[in-house]
């Protein structure tokens, strides 16, 4: 009678996505905010078109990182104490609970990346050589951010200042992701295959995944 873990995970993610659809934090708010950030930087630094073309990919990834983290720790991703109590009493495995949240985060961060992509291309007019590598780099990075954001969310649960202490913990740890993503884009732009960088991102993803699953039990107990 009890549904299997995959089914439960999907149900949990679906719930998060539905909540997000109602609040539209990511689509209507965080993504435009990220776009505005991309727009403001060239204005503030007063850079030439050539310089902008060079800065473009880096800026894109910085904004993805900073605001992608905001996506992962958005308000609707957090349960009230009562809701959390109900989830704990349901008998769903902690690892499944965490994976459900991470899955929803992944979808949203990826969506956010895709929304920002045309904006950054339009604003910075970067060199697009090697763009197919993005098809790998984008989901890998989104996965890492989503997983780290999920961990941060459950560590910051119930603390005052949650919405900001979460990002503070994730952003620095996500730095290797940022650096590797930037380098992979750069390598791809130079016509080289960015395998080492993608591998680095994948390693971070796998490490975060293992940590999430292995510590899930402890994270759910922190009430």
């Amino acid at each position: 009678m009890k549904p299997n873990a995959v089914r439960q995970c999907a149900e949990l993610a679906l719930k998060d996505l539905r909540l997000e659809l109602r609040a539209r934090e990511v689509g209507l708010v965080i993504a435009p905010f990220g776009a505005v950030a991309l727009l403001l930087i060239p204005m503030a630094v007063d850079a030439s078109t050539a310089l902008l073309r060079q800065l473009g990919p880096g800026m894109y990834w910085v904004v993805v990182l900073l605001f992608g983290v905001l996506v992962a720790v958005r308000d609707t991703a957090v349960e009230a104490p009562e809701q959390h109590a109900v989830l704990r009493l349901l008998g769903v495995e902690p690892a499944v609970l965490q994976m459900g949240r991470a899955l929803a985060n992944f979808v949203l961060v990826l969506l956010f990346e895709l929304l920002l992509l045309p904006v950054s291309i339009a604003l910075y007019d970067p060199d697009l050589t090697g763009w197919p590598w993005l098809l790998l780099a984008l989901p890998l990075t989104a996965g890492g951010l989503a997983l780290l954001g999920t961990i941060a969310n459950s560590l910051a649960r119930g603390l005052t200042g949650r919405s900001t202490i979460g990002p503070l913990m994730v952003v620095p740890i996500a730095v290797p992701l940022l650096l590797a993503a930037v380098q992979s884009t750069r390598a791809a732009g130079l016509g080289r295959a960015p395998w080492p960088w993608l591998l680095l991102i994948a390693v971070v993803d796998v490490a975060a995944l293992l940590l999430l699953v292995l510590t899930a039990h402890h994270q759910e107990e922190t009430a």
Binding site: L155, L159, G161, I165, M169, P172, V175, P176, H218, A223
Partner: protein, 243 residues
């Protein structure tokens, strides 16, 4: 209980003296001259920071496994030490960088990742501060103590992964260390000195933490007023005196 003990500080003091002597006796660098002697404080500071974060990792894992408070104290005390030594390495590196590179700070991956490591463990300490319940605090910071440790290999490998200005590994690398032997000896001595200083401080901090916990525990087991005891019945009569 003496927070510092007696033997360990004496040993540490001895090692420190020897290391200082060695640092001044070691030959000056051909290019940098005496400036290079900053290495004997900069590098040990960075390595001891690694060591303390590794101890935080160990303490965190052990706590999750055994749930004994002393492992939590180990993780917390050692993270404090690590933040201090990371800060020290940053400051000493800047001081060294100004004459050598001409700037206090530059966009070198080693520098940035070190600074980021500093922030990560500041976040660790902030998380501890923000959590009031001892059990929840230990649990959460243990999880974060594990997550945070990924920074250490990143800092170490940053010079290899990204082309860089900063010194690549000269000692901790496969094969023969690429450094003159007297310098290496002096460096190792100063590392030993820093490590023993750290050991003294860590033990003191852990003992203080244990005392704090004991005080807290005694306060708990003592007849403390219950949270509900301070709530009185309302003075309903007082409200409607003249009815």
């Amino acid at each position: 209980m003496k927070p510092f003990g007696r033997v360990l500080p004496a040993v540490a003091g001895g090692v420190l003296v020897v290391a200082l002597v060695a640092a001044f006796l070691a030959p000056a660098d051909r290019l940098q001259g005496d400036l290079q002697r900053l290495m004997y404080v900069h590098v040990p500071a960075a390595w001891v920071a690694y060591l303390s974060f590794a101890l935080t990792l160990v303490g965190s894992v052990l706590w999750l496994w055994r749930k004994e408070p002393r492992y939590d104290r180990l993780a917390a005390s050692s993270a404090e030490g690590g933040v201090f030594f990371t800060g020290l390495a940053l400051v000493l590196g800047s001081v060294w960088g100004k004459p050598v590179w001409g700037v206090w700070w530059t966009w070198d991956p080693r520098l940035v990742t070190t600074a980021v490591m500093f922030f990560v463990y500041l976040g660790y300490l902030a998380l501890r501060r923000a959590t009031a319940d001892p059990l929840a605090r230990a649990r959460r910071s243990a999880v974060f103590g594990i997550v945070a440790f990924v920074q250490v290999p990143v800092v170490h490998m940053s010079v290899v992964w990204w082309r860089t200005l900063h010194q690549p590994p000269t000692v901790l690398k496969p094969g023969e260390p690429s450094i003159e032997h007297t310098m290496l000896a002096a460096l190792l001595l100063s590392v030993l000195a820093f490590t023993s200083l750290f050991a003294v401080a860590l033990r003191a901090r852990m003992r203080i933490a244990a005392l704090e916990d004991a005080v807290e525990e005694r306060m708990r087991t003592a007849e403390r007023a219950l949270a509900g005891a301070a709530i009185a019945a309302p003075r309903t009569e007082g409200v409607r005196t003249d009815v």
